[in-house]
């Protein structure tokens, strides 16, 4: 069977917050929701954990070199030194980390702040205090990023092999015109691939 999403191993979330009571709370929320959790108290410690040592480090560190893969990062916005926004930017600038979904938390409901974070690539914004129900919003982002990753890998593999013989089991449509059929198959292939991924993952 091709790479299925491992549902046995819990997803690992890195939580970043300078406030100790808040860290305890987010840790409990995440653990109650069956996530594996690592908490750190600053953006710079988060980057260290993720394998980025400083801005000037040219050495690329890949996620598979991490001791434990991180599936999602959830960070407070207001932190001394490096804010959650700064951390978000650094993550999105890193080729090895940019695909990890990032969620921002803040005690202040400031629309311009929220928009700024979403525009920078944050997947979600939680208003503090964070609730248990908010935890349900995390897994979809993790799965989406994994499917996207897998889809990109598959696309890469497909483009290597010949496109004439697109043997896609779900492509049952046929057209009488052979040339348009070939074009249609190629187009269908792009549309159908994500569905094929989904059926394998379910």
């Amino acid at each position: 069977m091709a790479a299925a999403v491992a549902t046995e191993t819990p997803f690992h979330v890195l939580a970043v917050d300078d406030s100790l009571p808040d860290r305890k709370l987010i840790e409990r929320l995440l653990k109650t929701s069956s996530f594996q959790v690592t908490t750190v108290d600053s953006g710079s410690k988060a980057l260290q954990f993720l394998g980025l040592h400083d801005d000037h480090s040219p050495v690329p560190v890949h996620t598979d070199q991490l001791d434990v893969a991180v599936n999602l990062i959830i960070t407070d916005y207001c932190m001394p030194g490096m804010t959650g926004y700064d951390l978000l930017k650094k993550i999105k600038e890193s080729s090895s980390l940019r695909d990890i979904p990032v969620v921002i938390m803040s005690s202040e409901n400031i629309p311009s702040r929220i928009n700024r974070c979403l525009e920078e690539g944050a997947d979600e914004f939680f208003l503090k205090p964070v609730r248990l129900s908010d935890m349900n919003k995390l897994k979809p982002h993790i799965l989406k990023s994994r499917c996207r990753e897998h889809y990109h890998q598959e696309q890469h593999q497909q483009s290597d092999s010949n496109s004439d013989e697109c043997s896609n089991p779900t492509n049952t449509s046929s057209s009488s015109d052979s040339s348009s059929n070939r074009k249609r198959k190629a187009a269908d292939n792009e549309e159908i691939l994500p569905q094929a991924n989904r059926s394998r993952h379910s």
């Binding site: 406030s19 100790l20 808040d22 305890k24 929320l29 005690s107 503090k128």
Partner: protein, 145 residues
């Protein structure tokens, strides 16, 4: 004292804390999380961390407000921290006072800030006492079981 009587005392204490607005729904969320997660020490831990944190912040605020020239940005940053952690544990009264306190910081009202600090300190001590009683009662009930 019998567990049932202790339970009654604990429930009465909790009811009054909610009724007087000392704690809000977020505190209830913490209690539920403790039950859901099967982690009996969770509320005690968070409450204790909050109290230590608040104590520290209040000391820092007192020191800052004693300065001949008050750094209101620093004061505001600490009040913001206290507001955040009080919101996280459901310490409603403290949270509301912090909100007013922040406004006074932004107005650079030194006397107002000094008064707000006194209010926050009193409210925090009251809350801490009640938290401590709560935890003691819980321990006594646990010991009975």
């Amino acid at each position: 004292m019998a567990a049932a009587a202790l339970r009654e005392q604990l429930n009465a204490l909790l009811s009054s804390m909610f009724a007087s607005g000392l704690v809000d729904d977020q505190f209830q969320q913490l209690q539920m999380l403790q039950e859901d997660g099967g982690t009996p020490g969770f509320v005690a831990e968070v409450v204790t961390l909050f109290c230590d944190d608040a104590d520290r912040i209040i000391s820092e605020l007192a020191a800052l407000l004693e300065q001949p020239i008050v750094d209101f940005d620093k004061v505001d940053a600490y009040v913001h921290q206290l507001k955040g952690s009080s919101a996280s544990v459901g310490a409603q009264k403290v949270k509301f006072t912090c909100m007013q306190f922040r406004q006074l910081c932004q107005d650079k009202n030194r006397d107002g800030c000094i008064m707000a600090l006194a209010v926050v300190r009193n409210e925090f001590y009251d809350l801490r006492n009640k938290f401590q009683t709560m935890l003691q009662l819980e321990q006594q009930i646990q010991a009975q079981q």
